[in-house]
């Protein structure tokens, strides 16, 4: 599987191609942008936005439709990435994948914010109507997402890449093994341990939110 491993990384990116040779001559490749980004080169932030802003904004628009919430997600993703660039290392995977991870956090944050606003407005309505015991029900799934995305950040590679392929690219364990070159049995045991770790996190820290 050497040839396969050489050509693609854990996220299934083709590291060799994807751009025309003309552009490669005049523009830095993704790795160079990542390195300069980490080093605090301001031009690298502009290049990253140029290259990946459309895809990140596409994720935000898919979640919220075009408008202020989506724009805020895209904005906050790049701002957080820039101010938190010391947290990006070679072990974090390719820069675009790292940015996508931040974007997921921002999307989950907007869901949580909307959920808080919904409960507040419902609480006000309930107050006015003097209805006791009205809905204070947190949407547990919204809260779970924020918690679990934070836990994913703490999981090392290759476990994190494996579970992300399962969660976010809907690949089966056999496809993940084929994509990454990691043996099938190893993929299965990583998936099991990661799901058990996430369950534990929910049981410990999500418990108060359970109905």
């Amino acid at each position: 599987m050497t040839a396969l491993e050489d050509r693609i990384d854990l996220y299934g990116q083709d590291v060799e191609t994807g751009r025309t040779s003309l552009r490669r001559v005049v523009e830095p490749d993704d790795d160079e942008i990542a390195r300069r980004f980490r080093d605090g080169d301001e031009q690298a932030l502009a290049l990253a936005y140029e290259r990946w802003g459309g895809q990140l904004h596409g994720m935000a628009v898919r979640a919220f439709g075009p408008g202020p919430d989506a724009e805020d997600v895209t904005q906050q993703t790049f701002i957080s990435a820039w101010t938190g660039r010391n947290g990006y290392s070679a072990g974090s995977g390719p820069l675009p994948a790292w940015l996508v991870g931040i974007c997921r956090h921002k999307i989950a944050d907007v869901w949580a914010k909307r959920d808080r606003q919904r409960r507040q407005s419902e609480a006000v309505a309930a107050d006015v109507a003097s209805r006791p015991g009205s809905s204070d029900d947190v949407d547990t799934r919204v809260a779970d997402r924020v918690l679990l995305l934070g836990e994913l950040d703490r999981i090392g590679q290759p476990q994190r890449g494996i579970i992300e392929l399962a969660f976010f690219e809907d690949l089966t364990h056999a496809q993940i093994a084929a994509r990454t070159g990691i043996p099938l049995g190893t993929v299965k045991s990583h998936i099991r341990r990661t799901l058990e770790r996430l369950r534990t996190r929910l049981e410990v820290d999500g418990a108060a939110l359970q109905p």
Binding site: G12, W52, V61, P183
Partner: protein, 236 residues
């Protein structure tokens, strides 16, 4: 029967199909189902379309960069988004690779694996003379293997495939012949676990297409190779 393994329960939480015996046990066992449900809470929270990758690219309005520049104090400016229609999406973020590219990459590995495959003993019986053979070695997983033999009888050639592979919840196995240099492939048809016989096209030069490849194909109506190969060998 005994309980499902923790690995199988985790796969069930991801809604992967289990082998038939495990699936049957799971349907009847409250303890195993409870375990799947507990693991599934995380899956249900995160494996949602809104968080999936990739999404169609949408060019953000200029005010988005303006806000980023204002918040970060960065004075560099990105090149304006192209106005005419062009350039496919920029370098893929976590995009699924196109099927063809995936196949090329996978098939490029075929030469490596094919070179490792050993020749089987050539024999003759009532199914015809064995003119070429190979063992099929597992790829990635050690779950699928087998043998393949080209037999010739009355001038007609067929490929006998004996496949030892797990049951598939969805999709099917298909056998192909590949060129070692990856410049082409010939689909031969659907195969199942156990013994199979598929006819070979007349005039096909096995010297050109010596690599026997077994793939898992989804029932998606796409005749192209899925890029998911489970066993391979090189005829000799």
């Amino acid at each position: 029967m005994q309980h499902c393994s923790p690995e199988q329960l985790a796969l069930a939480a991801l809604r992967e199909p289990l082998p038939a015996a495990d699936a049957a046990h799971l349907a009847d066992c409250a303890a195993c189902r409870g375990e799947v449900a507990a693991l599934q809470r995380a899956v249900d929270a995160l494996a949602v379309p809104a968080l999936a990758a990739p999404a169609p690219s949408v060019t953000p309005p200029p005010r988005v960069w303006d806000a980023i520049a204002a918040a970060t104090g960065v004075s560099a400016t990105p090149a304006p988004a192209p106005t005419s229609e062009p350039e496919p999406a920029p370098a893929p973020v976590v995009e699924l690779r196109p099927r063809r590219t995936r196949w090329l990459a996978a098939a490029a590995a075929a030469a490596v694996v094919g070179g490792l495959a050993g020749a089987a003993v050539l024999t003759r019986d009532d199914a015809g003379a064995v003119v070429a053979a190979t063992t099929l070695d597992p790829l990635d997983a050690d779950e699928s293997s087998g043998t393949a033999e080209v037999r010739e009888r009355d001038g007609v050639r067929s490929l006998q495939v004996d496949l030892d592979a797990p049951s598939l919840g969805e999709g099917y196995y298909e056998v192909w012949l590949l060129r070692p240099d990856v410049s082409g492939l010939v689909p031969l048809g659907v195969v199942h676990q156990g013994a199979n016989s598929v006819p070979l096209p007349d005039g096909l030069d096995l010297g050109d297409y010596p690599v026997v490849d077994v793939s898992v194909e989804p029932l998606d109506g796409d005749p192209a190779h899925s890029g998911v190969s489970v066993a391979r060998g090189s005829l000799s």
